[in-house]
């Protein structure tokens, strides 16, 4: 057991140690490689958690069947993004957008972000979870503003203010959960430990839990990027370095959603409390349809895919809100597929923006002719994210839609409508970006295709064949989610 505990700590300590080291070391080559090595080691440590029995939950940290999926995904995308980041920042250094001092800062923040996200995923203490998500937000704010242009600073400021308000609301919800738990469990640390909370939730005051959940959903929902609270997301994606866009879309949104899911399980354990499902279904649908329409008027390529992230987070929230084994399974699968596909797309977009020297869609055209590898992978990514067969997102979207048709056919109509609207918008853009006459200036670019192809291959493989072990695992987790 002590061995298992040691590995949990490894997942947290490797990024922390790497952050300190990277803050001190100069030089691009060395630090970029060190960054990759640290994320690879973290990923391996997380992977070993998958194949061994879980240690008993402690007062601060917990590894169970639910979060191990998130941790594995988190560390994997963290690793591939660091590989992409190495070639990306190399180009940024050459063009002078980043200076060596800022690069050092960037690498340290990247590792700190990884550490904070892993703490948030492993937290068994709702206070610790809140602190970790706050830290993750702060590090990303700093990285979004790293180019120090007018736009980047404004995007960071907007993200900062909206994120802080969200975080404040989430803290108020956390305090209310403690107030609800305190008469039953007693004062002190135990009343903030998630496993203890769930065990005693049936005796909590339901009215207080209801109010708490609304605050938590609004607070963490801001970080998920759900519709009325999404305003920070497109700016933060568009103005920051592209590896950060990939990590934001692929990972940080998931981490915030994971926090909502933990509290959803807590609510479900109390029969008298309001069902959290309908709230999540509503927010999910609103985000999906709103973002689908917003996709049409985008002129900035990173902003386009940021709105697509809002759309997909809407679908995932919708699926988890529906609940039940099938919808939860679909939600989990969709979350995994979206993380892989969206970060893959951002890898491609990052190099495209470097090759074209702009993010304006109007100045990007005919990519399949000028940069066949990049162009065709972007095409594959867009086809995947639009939800066409045979790729993984088609399967998960199909499952979401079919489970909705079976349980609430009326809800399926706006869902399918939103999906089709988004599909149309993406194809409209795809045509201009990838095919036709090449437009705009063109520079050669040293791209790292490894992470991009790895993600696309995984998404394709998942669309063609899901290993039975993985299906069984996801089914088991869906049962846990209720």
């Amino acid at each position: 057991m002590s061995f298992a505990l040691a590995r949990i700590e490894l997942v947290l300590l490797i990024p922390l140690a790497a952050a300190t080291l990277l803050a001190l070391l100069p030089g691009y080559r060395l630090t970029a490689r060190l960054n990759v090595a640290a994320t690879l080691l973290t990923f391996l440590a997380a992977l070993s958690l998958l194949f061994t029995p879980h240690p008993p939950p402690g007062p601060y940290l917990l590894v169970d069947d639910l979060n191990v999926v998130f941790i594995a995904l988190n560390t994997f995308v963290g690793f591939t993004t660091s590989v992409f980041s190495a070639s990306y920042v190399g180009h940024e250094l050459e063009t002078g957008r980043l200076t060596p001092a800022y690069l050092r800062f960037y690498h340290a923040m990247y590792q700190l972000l990884m550490c904070a996200m892993n703490v948030a995923l492993m937290a068994n203490n709702i206070g610790l979870m809140w602190v970790a998500i706050e830290t993750a937000t702060l590090t990303t704010v700093l990285m979004v503003g790293i180019y120090r242009t007018h736009e980047a600073l404004e995007a960071a400021w907007k993200y900062f203010i909206l994120g802080s308000v969200g975080i404040a609301l989430a803290l108020f919800g956390t305090i209310l959960v403690y107030v609800a738990a305190q008469p039953v469990i007693g004062e002190g640390l135990d009343a903030m430990v998630w496993t203890t909370l769930v065990a005693h939730a049936s005796k909590f005051d339901p009215a207080l839990l209801n109010v708490a959940f609304i605050f938590l959903l609004l607070g963490y929902g801001t970080k998920v990027g759900l519709a009325p609270l999404h305003a920070w997301l497109p700016d933060a994606h568009a103005e920051g370095p592209t590896p950060i866009s990939a990590v934001l879309s692929g990972l940080l949104l998931n981490v915030a959603l994971y926090a909502v899911l933990r509290f959803k399980i807590l609510m479900a354990a109390n029969a008298a409390a309001v069902a959290p499902g309908p709230l999540m279904v509503t927010m999910g649908l609103v985000s999906l349809i709103f973002a689908a329409f917003m996709l049409y008027r985008r002129r900035d390529i990173k902003r386009l895919f940021a709105y697509s992230s809002i759309e997909h987070m809407g679908i995932i929230t919708f699926a988890f809100g529906m609940g039940g084994p099938l919808a939860n399974f679909a939600g989990l699968l969709h979350m995994t597929m979206h993380s892989l596909t969206k970060s893959g797309i951002f890898f491609a977009v990052g190099h495209v923006a470097q090759a074209k020297g702009t993010q304006r869609i109007a100045d990007i055209g005919g990519l399949t002719e000028t940069h066949p590898w990049l162009g065709w992978s972007l095409v594959a990514g867009i086809v995947a994210i639009a939800g066409l067969p045979p790729l993984g997102i088609f399967m998960s979207e199909f499952l979401v839609v079919s489970s909705t048709f079976a349980r609430a056919p009326l809800l399926a109509i706006p869902l399918v409508f939103g999906l089709l609207v988004a599909l149309g918008a993406l194809f409209l853009r795809l045509n201009g970006i990838a095919f036709g006459e090449p437009r705009g200036e063109t520079h050669p670019v040293k791209a790292s295709y490894g992470p991009l192809f790895a993600h696309l291959a995984l998404v394709l493989a998942a669309g063609l064949y899901l290993p039975p072990q993985l299906v069984a695992w996801f089914q088991h987790v869906s049962q846990l989610l209720g």
């Binding site: 206070g127 108020f172 305190q182 640390l189 903030m192 109010v211």
Partner: protein, 220 residues
Amino acid sequence: MPNLAFDTSHPLAGGLVLVSFVLLYQDRLYSMLNVYALHALVLALAVAWQANIQNAPHLYVTAGLALGFKAIIIPVALRRIVERLGIHREIETVVGIGPTMLCGMALVALSMVVMLRVTAEAAPIAREDLAFALAVVLLGLLVMVTRRNAVSQVVGFMSLENGLVLAATGAKGMPLVVEISVAFSILIAFIVIGIFLFRIRERFDTVDIGALDQFRGERR
């Protein structure tokens, strides 16, 4: 004297709501900063009193932080930033003071109704503190929404955060309160440094949030 504990914590928490109202109708930056210092001072007293009646000495750390950092250092720092950067000292409001005050009263009534109803089983002190804390949080949000100037929005956020600290200390025996208040102080320090950096680089022509609205990133 079983009621002394309650009788003292009640006006202190209520006083915080009152000062939030005062914050709501300030139209000059300097007076807003002064009111915020008063806000933090009342919070420090309320937290110190909670530390006393709960026999929780660690809460004195939070109270000291509120007194030293929020009531003295932050207002002084912000005042110097405003001076050095020559930020407009009059605050543009989105809605007039009358409707804002009415809205504020409605929010206080709402938080009383909601919190007193749902916390029927909790201890009376915690109940009152939570209701007042929610009122302070909502008033802080209102300040942020009705101001167009970045510094006054930050002041609104800091008053909102004071409400959260009040709620956390009112919940008896809540762990991690000190850690959370320290984390929030770091957050605020970041925000204040952020304002300073924004201006010192002369990237913004104005620290006016209205200018942010012109930016959608797609009108280049």
